[in-house]
Amino acid sequence: MPRRVIVLVLLLSYITLSLCGCWDAKDVDKLVFPIAAGYDVHQGDPGNMNQLSIGPLEEPQVDVSVLLPNLSPEATAKVTVEVMPAATVAYARDKRSYTNASLYVTGFNKVILLGEDLARQGTFAPMESLYRFPSVSHTMVLAVVDGRADEVLKTPTPNFENMGVYLNNLLRENKANSFIPTVNLHQFNVWQSPGNNPVLPLIKPGGINGIILSGIAIFNKDHMVGKLNQRQARALTLLRGIKSQGYLPLAPQEEGEEQGTGFFDNDRKVEVERQGDSYSFKIKVILQGIIQELPHQSGQPIDTSEVKKIEESLAQSIQQDCTDLVQLMQDEFKVDCIDISKYAVANWRREIKDQVDRPDFISNANIQVQVEVKITNAGEQK
């Protein structure tokens, strides 16, 4: 009976496979879960790890630091930060195996920090292993450290379980209340394509939790070319049209009088025109928000004319910031960090695909910024 034979074969193989299988089974308690990792250019005394390096191929080039929560309740410290000097990022995994037998779930990582040195040197090589590794999620968030990444991971953060959790929170949620973007692995990747350039949030030690967001790092494709402070970062986010929300200062009356605060969403529209080889871009930054705070002693309710005044003054100051930033970009960075060349590519892809990323393309472009502010309500008070 073929039927009986089939059933028997299936049954036997099922039993055999279930009993002898388990090639991939790795119990959760036998693993370690890196929450955050940092990449730096290899520096100084390699410590005892260097004893393991043999041959020129294994000369340490990069310091890979990983933050691992300690699972065992008996562990004295909550986390371990391992720093592995290695020739390449993925090769650091080899070094790990000499000190820790537990399997690293690379795919679990949530945060990647890039030391400034490494970022300036170029991130193509260190990032490659992440894109190649199948279980790595492209939702990992990235940031550049103003300094060294391993230092950041080692910084204690008393109010959180560990620095990894804090950084994950900080870098993932920041776009909900500040104009510093959240950038994940996927975006960093697609921003490498023609007409795009990545930007990453910049962090540095400081503040109550040990680390603060200090601005934005500008990249030319895979390597970092500049840093922006918090105010410039805000202008950049608005110009780039990265959807965020954040607080902006309001100036209701003339300079020097009471100041207020508003909470705004941003949006942008870009128009591109071409005459021969000169391109002109019109960027319209749209801010829409509500008044959070507007102390005025006159006791008069806010009327439309006052709202208009506030809108105009805010638009003006933001426009100033934006124009300054465009100037800086065109003169100093010579990199399209405000993500407008892609509109030119979208119109003439075949033709300008190769030249759009040249420095002169963005430096010679005519860029106009217009800011539009809309205030939709003023809260509970008149």
Partner: protein
């Protein structure tokens, strides 16, 4: 009593879709974008002409021989020996084709789900499933296709989630820069995704309402095209034509770019559902081959045994490609083979039928 293999025209629709949509769905955007850039989705539309042509030829052929099954049609037209040879050729084609499908399925499982599990074990489990389904007969194959089709809808839904979070419409522009040569090459590549529609050759005689075959085929093609179109557009919107080509399976990679708060990793549930989708492709074609074999040896109720045989051969064949790179090479041969079996072969049979009109009448 009706045949244990008879299927409804609705089931035929899902069988045809199921025979085409598989791992191709995940790899297609990258393959097409390599050739046609942002116009990849047009290639999907144009490529649909192949399965349509195949559908019409096979339907013409089937209509000439009402009530005759695939083997009988062949033997009527090509003689006892010639017909048998043609059927065996078809079986060999299916084995070859499935070798590519099943082995790339194994690779995909290895890469994304079970990196250390030997591929013979994963494939064994998969083939056991395939053989089990095939041994139950055509009716059951039809039913499985019906239910599993909804797996595709769920997986499409998964693919659309990242599009909601990250998309850039400029990736699709400009539309006007079409290069016919590039597009043509992309259309040829899309053959890879449409291969499988030739199962109609075998299933035709089992459809309860043969007059509905055309409409079922059209619906199936429309479904397949929409699925590919959605995946291709989604990948283009998320990655752009320049980055989509970096990955082998953009259809999976796209799921890694976003997460929901409930399901942080979309690719795992997606792949879990997708396993069922791919195996439909694994079931439909080998079952067609097994059924033809059983018919050739005179008893179509021995399909279980034939299925076991075909399954074992495919299993060992699928272990043969040593690396993913071999699979890429096989894909090209697979496309050519599909063109021969899916389009030229029914056309050839039609030609023979036209020349040997007398024989046809006697049959």
């Amino acid at each position: 009593m009706s045949s244990p293999h008879s299927i409804s025209s609705q089931q035929l629709t899902f069988i045809l879709t199921g025979a085409q949509v598989g791992s191709a769905m995940l790899a297609l955007p990258a393959l097409l974008c390599t050739e046609a850039g942002q116009h990849a989705w047009m290639a999907v539309l144009l490529g649909a002409l192949f399965p349509l042509a195949s559908l019409f030829f096979i339907e013409r052929l089937g209509r000439r021989f009402p009530g005759l099954n695939f083997v009988q049609v062949n033997q009527t037209l090509l003689g006892k020996i010639g017909g048998a040879a043609a059927v065996l050729l078809f079986v060999v084609y299916v084995v070859f084709f499935e070798m590519e499908i099943i082995s790339s399925f194994g690779r995909l499982v290895q890469i994304f789900m079970l990196p250390s599990t030997p591929i013979w074990a994963t494939l064994f489990l998969a083939m056991a499933c395939v053989v089990y389904a095939g041994s139950k007969g055509g009716k059951v194959v039809g039913r499985i296709n019906e239910t599993l089709f909804f797996g595709i809808l769920i997986s499409l839904f998964f693919i659309l989630i990242p599009v909601y979070y990250v998309n850039d419409y400029t990736n699709l522009l400009p539309l006007g820069e079409i290069d016919p040569l590039e597009l043509g090459r992309a259309v040829l590549v899309s053959l890879y995704a449409y291969a499988g529609s030739e199962v109609l050759l075998v299933y035709y005689s089992y459809v309860k309402a043969p007059d509905k075959v055309i409409s079922a085929g059209l619906t199936a093609t429309a479904l397949t095209v929409s699925i590919y179109l959605i995946v291709t557009l989604a990948c283009l919107l998320v990655f752009g034509p320049d980055k989509v080509v970096d990955t082998i399976w953009p259809g999976v990679t796209i799921l890694k770019v976003a997460g929901l708060s409930v399901i942080e990793r979309l690719e795992f549930p997606f792949l879990a559902i997708w396993v069922g989708i791919v195996l439909r492709r694994g079931i439909n074609l080998p079952f067609a081959a097994a059924l033809s074999l059983a018919q050739l040896f005179g008893n179509e109720n021995r399909h279980g045994l034939a299925m076991l045989g075909v399954g074992i051969v495919i299993y060992f064949a699928a272990l043969f490609p040593q690396s993913m790179m071999v699979n890429f090479m096989l894909v090209n041969y697979g496309c050519a083979a599909y063109f021969v079996i899916g389009i030229l072969y029914p056309l050839f049979l039609l030609g023979v039928a036209w020349i040997r009109k007398g024989v046809v009448k006697n049959a």
